[in-house]
């Protein structure tokens, strides 16, 4: 296969090879072109590389670096679009090159819905600097003032009408010093050509023809295939094993033990187990099936998720550690006219991206090259350096397309596995995780138990809010001491509770981590939005107020909420509150628009209902209205979902929409289908025959996504669809059936 070659071609060769074809084309054009005032191209070998993200060659080809990982959000398209827009490049002349893992690009860890938020300005500047230098180069050529030169669609045009192509200017711009920042002006948003407009993803043709290369598809010469039998109890080791039967399988080449890390495992260490290396996948799988292994029992051999959750719920009902306290809830409850109490449970959830974890590695002469669908190539590089004991410079991390990730592929454990196996066998290897491996050995979303108590006073105002959230912390996967949710985890939907309530207390309890816990799309916003979004709906009914009006009542006046005065622990998605304040007006706006767009309160037949929930996560404000209908057999159908999204300026609105459409389906899985349980240390579910995801017949029939038009700073779109969906759906189920749902996944017959 060609992958090896494709990946091995150096950046310079890449530029050279691609320029040949285009140069030919352009020479053809200019020869037949009568307008000889136009100089389009220069020496094809020349290159203008004003920064790590942009290269323009003498033929006018623009190569832009995509430094974040493509896992379905469209980021490989959207970030280069930002550069191209400021650069005034013609998008049809742009080639995208995926970056290796390297700190020179800045942050490459593609998670937290912050790719656009973090890189919108830096990449605009990168584009604007290059554009300015091209304009300066043209001005110099013509001996005119630079203010009379303007880059327009791959050319710099003088006020007199004459112009130079970017290709022609490349060599000349390359000789100029970087301009002062104050000489560089960013475009006015009204002049954006690509930002805010619809653009198809750059990989679409390859995807629908099967040419797109995911991690699973990487193939380098002489590459062996490895699968690993891991202890059902994550982190525990191997007592003994017998490889004899496995060795008899044709094609099996080597069987050996990979040490187990114990528990906590940490995020980068492989789980260990028995490795079967074979000539092909089927031999490896058969060999693995034929292994006889006796497993050690580790410290979590007693972990059973049902009793663990029951225990957490006990904790949630008694006084815990205070994480936010305003006013005096105990005193307020004494005077409440109405008190509401509810308990909420969300189970373990796996990521289960359609492409299971996989990686190819070649360890050779104290260097290591890997090809992997990783969200975090720099993290992988660092992990590899640590585990292999070699310098980071000796490690090359190639990032393939990711067949989904949702947080799973930010952990490099599977890449480290590949590297260790390659070192052991002295040649290239691909590690494959089967679906069973994936579901049973994931970094799971934490199971959670929550308790919320609300007091409504004699004026029908909510004046007391007590919320306890209990779940094992992600940190517990790395260190024993992290046995209570962190401030960061609570900032995802709990202590940033925005409602204008005088007396508030948020508490947590200890819950030791007993299996690998990780971050799943929107993380603890999942359970917090479910609990709060459901409770707020209960409040509406207790107050006798329409749920939409209730939300508006509870959020209160237009203001920027100053959380620093409310809790010391809030992390505003790593942004300063003054840069990205919590604005109630934006929250109210998405609610009002949702009311209108969803035709809230419309007449629906018996067994149908609408529900609403609103949530700000990753600095994006989202209102979600779900319409459900439930038939006589309790079958749930979702005819319509309306999302209203304020994510600041939407760079690629089409991809924002697709994230929300997909988010509705992803969240349907969480709300109605998915659950992972653990018994005696081992995960019970194993594949799509006993672990369920939404299929076409389960997913919403229509998801309308309404994006608020604004020039506010862009925020995120990958994760924000998820949090409000399940509570909106459950509130709709209440409207349809009169049943309150407080545990996911929904079981209506229970």
């Amino acid at each position: 296969m060609d992958d090896h070659k494709i990946f091995k071609v150096s950046r310079r060769d890449f530029i050279k090879t691609t320029s040949v074809g285009v140069t030919g084309l352009l020479i053809g054009v200019s020869v037949s072109c009568t307008d000889n005032k136009k100089n389009l191209t220069g020496d094809p070998q020349s290159r203008f590389t004003p920064n790590f993200f942009i290269t323009i060659n003498g033929s006018g080809d623009v190569t832009l670096i995509a430094h974040r990982s493509e896992m379905g959000t469209g980021i490989r398209t959207s970030l280069p679009l930002i550069i191209a827009d400021e650069l005034e490049a013609d998008w049809n002349r742009v080639k995208i090159e995926q970056a290796l893992g390297d700190i020179k690009y800045g942050d490459q860890n593609t998670d937290g819905s912050y790719s656009v938020r973090m890189f919108f300005m830096p990449l605009r500047k990168a584009g604007a600097f290059a554009r300015t230098m091209l304009e300066q180069a043209a001005a110099k050529e013509w001996g005119v003032d630079v203010s009379t030169c303007k880059a327009v669609n791959h050319e710099v045009v003088h006020t007199s009408g004459k112009s130079f192509g970017f290709g022609y200017l490349a060599a000349k711009a390359a000789l100029l010093p970087l301009p002062d920042e104050n000489k560089v002006t960013l475009k006015s948003p009204k002049d954006f050509k690509y930002i805010g407009k619809t653009s198809s993803i750059v990989d679409i043709q390859d995807i629908v023809t099967g040419k797109a290369r995911f991690g699973l598809d990487v193939n380098i010469p002489n590459c062996k295939i490895a699968v690993i039998k891991r202890n059902p109890e994550p982190g525990a080791g191997v007592k003994s094993f017998n490889p004899d039967e496995a060795n008899k399988i044709s094609g099996v080449v080597k069987i050996f033990k990979l040490d187990a890390p114990g528990f906590p495992t940490n995020f980068f260490k492989p789980l260990g187990g028995i490795v079967v290396v074979a000539e092909n996948t089927w031999s490896a799988l058969k060999g693995r099936d034929a292994l006889k292994i006796s497993w050690e029992k580790g410290k979590n051999a007693d972990y059973t998720s049902s009793s663990y959750i029951a225990n957490m719920m006990k904790g949630a009902k008694s006084k815990g550690k205070v994480r936010r306290e305003n006013g005096d809830v105990d005193k307020a409850f004494k005077q409440s006219k109405t008190i509401l109490e509810a308990e909420y449970i969300v189970p373990h959830l796996p990521h289960s991206p359609m492409e299971t974890p996989c990686a190819v590695a070649l360890f050779k002469d104290q260097t290591c090259e890997v090809w992997a669908p990783t969200q975090d190539p720099q993290g992988a590089r660092k992990a590899l350096a640590g585990v292999l004991g070699i310098d980071e410079k000796a490690i090359t991390v190639n990032v393939t397309l990711l067949g989904g990730a949702f947080g799973r592929k930010s952990k490099p454990d599977f890449i480290v596995e590949a590297a260790l196996i390659s070192r052991n066998i002295g040649g290239p290897v691909k590690v494959l995780w089967t679906r069973e491996d994936d579901i049973q050995h994931d970094f799971f979303h934490a199971p959670s138990a929550q308790y919320i108590k609300v007091g409504i006073d004699k004026n029908n105002t909510v004046d007391a809010w007590l919320h306890r959230s209990v779940f094992p912390s992600i940190g517990g996967t790395a260190v024993d001491q992290a046995n209570e949710p962190s401030g960061g985890e609570l900032s995802l939907g709990m202590i940033d509770m925005p409602y204008d309530i005088k007396n508030v207390r948020c508490e947590t309890q200890q819950a030791p981590t007993k299996i690998r816990i990780g971050w799943l799309r929107s993380v603890s916003n999942i359970q917090h939005a479910f609990a709060i979004g459901s409770m707020v709906d209960e409040i509406a009914f207790a107050r006798g107020v329409d749920p939409v009006q209730n939300l508006l009542d509870m959020i209160g006046e237009d203001r920027k909420i100053d959380f620093t005065s409310l809790t010391k622990e809030l992390e505003n998605y790593n942004e300063k509150q003054e840069d990205f304040p919590w604005e109630t007006a934006r929250f109210k706006n998405v609610i009002r628009v949702a009311k209108e767009k969803s035709n809230w309160g419309k007449q629906l037949p018996k067994g149908s209902g609408q529900g609403i929930a609103v949530h700000r996560s990753f600095l994006t404000y989202v209102a979600c209205v779900v319409e459900v209908s439930v038939d006589a057999n309790n079958k749930i159908t979702i005819p319509k979902v309306d999302y209203v999204v304020d994510c600041g300026l939407a760079v690629n609105p089409e991809r924002v929409k697709s994230q929300f459409e997909g988010g509705a389906s992803f969240s349907t899985s969480i709300a109605l289908k998915s659950e992972v349980t653990v018994k005696d240390g081992a995960v019970v579910e194993s594949n799509f025959n006993n672990f369920f995801l939404a299929r076409m017949s389960d997913a919403p029939l229509e998801t309308a996504v309404h994006i608020i038009e604004t020039n506010e700073k862009p925020t995120g779109a990958g994760e924000p669809p998820v949090p409000p969906f399940a509570p909106a759906l459950c509130n709709a189920l209440f409207a349809a059936t009169g049943k309150r749902i407080r545990q996911l996944p929904v079981k209506l017959s229970a």
Binding site: T209, G210, G251, E355, G403, G404, R435, G663, F688, A699
Partner: protein
């Protein structure tokens, strides 16, 4: 190991494999046709969908020894070098997100459209229910299938 002769995308191929090897791994490992994906290995997700004499089939559950002379079509042979009407519709509707499930989805959709040029919503649901998309592109898949379908004359 045994030798098998199979017809893939109109070409006769000779492959060495164990008799119980699923076609999926023969395509991917022996023939380097990696457009056909692995998602579950137990005929539950549709990522590995190919056509066997024109019928959508999960290649992960199809043993190489059971194929005989039946003709196999994979995404690579669907319509190359051009695009099939279903692929065009996929592009026009901007269906894919991560893209991993999409070749399997396209293969299922093409089999459906070939056998039923104007499927109803319910028929689409049934034909496509074996294909999971974790990214949740179902609504657009449905739109693309409708775009590619031909309304019945009169």
């Amino acid at each position: 190991m045994a030798t098998y002769h199979i017809n893939v995308n109109g070409q006769d191929q000779q492959v060495e494999a164990m008799p119980d090897t699923p076609l999926l791994w023969v395509l991917r490992d022996n023939l380097q046709l990696t457009g056909t994906k692995f998602g579950c290995g137990i005929a539950q997700c549709g990522a590995c969908t190919v056509h066997l004499d024109g019928n959508a089939t999960r290649s992960c559950g199809l043993l190489i020894s059971s194929i005989g002379t039946q003709k196999i079509t994979t995404i690579e042979g669907l319509s190359a070098p051009g695009l099939h009407a279903v692929q065009k519709a996929w592009i026009e509707e901007n269906v894919p997100q991560c893209g991993f499930c999409q070749t399997g989805q396209v293969m299922s959709a093409v089999a459906l459209i070939t056998q039923n040029s104007n499927p109803t919503d319910a028929e689409i649901d049934t034909a496509m229910s074996g294909n999971i998309c974790r990214c949740g592109t179902y609504e657009r898949i449905k739109k693309a299938i409708k775009r590619a379908s031909t309304p019945k004359p009169n």
